[in-house]
Symmetry: C2
């Protein structure tokens, strides 16, 4: 299956997800790691579309998600840069673009190592809180814990 | 907002719905009317995408759906023909294409007036039963009523 850039933009406008995960991690000075993730989830009947996305971007993995759903998932930072370049060139048309821009901002901050210190991490959490995909109560709890120190 | 054909195919692969409604209607000899419907539903924040689809296809309506969601909806048969021509030319890449082909078959049967007689209507219900979007228990109940009829 051959995908075009415009088809991918349309499909991701519908089904894509730009997500900033914040997880506890003892090896980090801040106690938390930042995990940007781009995913597209589909019912298993359309797993071939997920593999076509993987082929198109030349990276990422296809993994089982919940129940009979599968996800094309990108966590690797150099692959995420690849995804970001694509959506900079080929603009999303829905408000998902706003989430994408926040996602990109966090990834740029990570490139500068900002996520490794408390202040930068708090800034990242504030950006993530404004994203459509965020788990707000959980992020607010983490933010409080970090602030309390 | 200007949409390209490929973007629309990708977006509809994600968010579009081809649906065959079967509703009770006293004026019909069979007591039922067949209502093919193409819809794309979005959160109200993306209502401008629905209006862009309406503009692209030159027909259909944008209406409130449930809660804070809106739908671009096509029920008018000549507009549905327009939609069908588009997706014949620009093929869907997901399994939604199978639903589209069933939807098209029902619309062609309607053009021949097959939905107006019992046998054709039962055939249409059998097609609709195999669609991903069908309310199977309800359709089976209608089928039984017509068969007993």
């Amino acid at each position: 299956m051959k995908l075009t850039a415009d088809w991918i933009v349309g499909f991701v406008d519908g089904e894509g997800c730009f997500f900033i995960g914040i997880n506890q991690h003892k090896e980090m000075t801040t106690n938390y790691q930042v995990l940007p993730e781009f995913t597209v989830v589909q019912h298993k009947r359309d797993i071939q579309v997920l593999y076509a996305l993987k082929k198109f971007f030349g990276c990422g993995v296809v993994r089982k998600n919940h129940a009979d759903r599968y996800a094309y998932r990108v966590r690797n930072l150099s692959c995420i840069e690849n995804i970001i370049s694509f959506f900079e060139k080929h603009k999303l048309k829905t408000k998902k673009r706003i989430d994408f821009l926040k996602f990109r901002r966090v990834c740029l901050m990570m490139k500068e190592g900002r996520h490794l210190e408390k202040e930068g991490l708090l800034e990242i959490i504030d950006i993530a809180l404004k994203m459509n995909t965020s788990d707000k109560p959980r992020l607010l709890e983490i933010k409080e814990k970090i602030t309390r120190g």
